[in-house]
Symmetry: C2
Subunit: 222 residues, 2 copies
DNA sequence: ACCTGAACACCGTTCAAGT
DNA sequence: ACCTGAACACCGTTCAAGT
């Protein structure tokens, strides 16, 4: 009985999968994707590599768990809306904001879209399409289109974050816009015409505009 | 003069960026992304690591060059169509087929979408939107939506290829469908309803269906 | 100018050994 | 059951030295 008590009162800083995932998220958020190594983790957790492997199979499982951790919060937070169209927009925006705050989530989702987080997203979208009155036949293609679009944005965001790193966003956009402006006008008339829009656009608004475009297309199928 | 001649007649197997890129593509296509290492390259090219670094700055530049090599062919092959809507579908399908044949291209495009290949794609789409009569204001958002969708599919395809690896496609789909069928029907009614469609769908057709959905949405903006 | 190949600094992962 | 930490098998990249 005394022994059992002792087991229940384990030191609060004992290692666990949750604590490891938490530490991983901390490193990813503050120092970026490339900083997450088992060495960095062992230092932060004051332990050995083998201790981590006792709780986690490998680095990929750790990344998956960290991503699901962030995404689970998003999916549960966005449940209020009843109007299906608004609900779809809200869920999509929730994912966008999460990826914006944690770019490494974008990398991970594009690397492994069969994550339970994406299944939840797909389910959440699909259920609303049903409520929207989209015919059965078209529901699969519609949900897939929305999901692929979100994954594309996720990847872009992660790539931008990787490239921006030091410089801030407006400087980053200015550089990109300058590159567009320097392109051959014969070969790239469209990009040149869009230079100003590139520099001045808002990622979040543009993301929503894309969602609305796809929703408008879906509304077309009757 | 004799010297100059000799220089012109260099041994045909001399190293060059093109030959290195070609070898890299060979490894990527036959053995997959993880097989592309500088050790594998030096073996295949019968040279030293330093020799490769003389022609190529680093692994990322090599991957970028290999991707642009594949994509450049796609973009030039698809120029026949005059009807803008068909041209957009053809360009998108060309990218899809290229990624289907070379899944590593999908990984690279999602990792670095500012590649010249994607700029060409964006330009190609944008020019056609103009021809389609899409208002200036909406062209940027429309081209971005299509591009993000294609990038999302690219990532998915690459991830699937990575996961499939050994087993063939139908076995892969069967496994995924079986996983969907095992989900809690209370929590995942939509996924369960879509299980059959997942198992029987054709990736290429579904990709086109998504493009058509977005195009239908774009046609809505007047 | 172009190439060789050993060496460097780092990875993720394993495993015998401890408690 | 859980943890330690040295060791292993790999990486990408550098660089003194060769031709």
């Amino acid at each position: 009985m005394g022994t059992k008590r002792q087991r229940a009162e384990r030191r609060t800083d004992a290692l666990s999968k949750e604590r490891i995932v938490e530490a991983a998220i901390g490193i990813l958020d503050t120092e970026g994707e490339s900083a997450l190594t088992f060495r960095a983790l062992t230092t932060r957790l004051a332990t050995g590599a083998g201790a981590i492997y006792w709780h986690v199979a490998n680095k990929n499982e750790l990344l998956t768990a960290a991503t699901d951790d962030v995404m689970a919060r998003v999916m549960t937070e966005v449940v209020g809306d009843t109007e299906p169209r608004e609900a779809i927009r809200a869920v999509a925006l929730g994912v966008f904001d999460a990826i914006d705050a944690h770019p490494w989530v974008g990398t991970q989702l594009t690397r492994d879209p069969s994550q339970s987080a994406m299944l939840q997203f797909f389910e959440s979208i699909g259920g609303r399409l049903q409520a929207l009155g989209v015919p059965e036949q078209a529901q699969f293609d519609s949900a897939t289109a929305l999901t692929n679009y979100v994954l594309g944005v996720a990847g872009q965001n992660a790539a931008n974050a990787r490239q921006a790193q030091e410089t801030d966003r407006s400087a980053f956009l200015a550089t990109a816009a300058a590159r567009w402006a320097r392109l051959d006008p014969e070969e790239y008339p469209f990009l040149r015409r869009m230079t100003t829009q590139l520099r001045e656009h808002d990622d979040r608004e543009q993301f929503l505009a894309g969602i609305d475009l796809i929703l408008a297309g879906i509304a077309t199928v009757r």
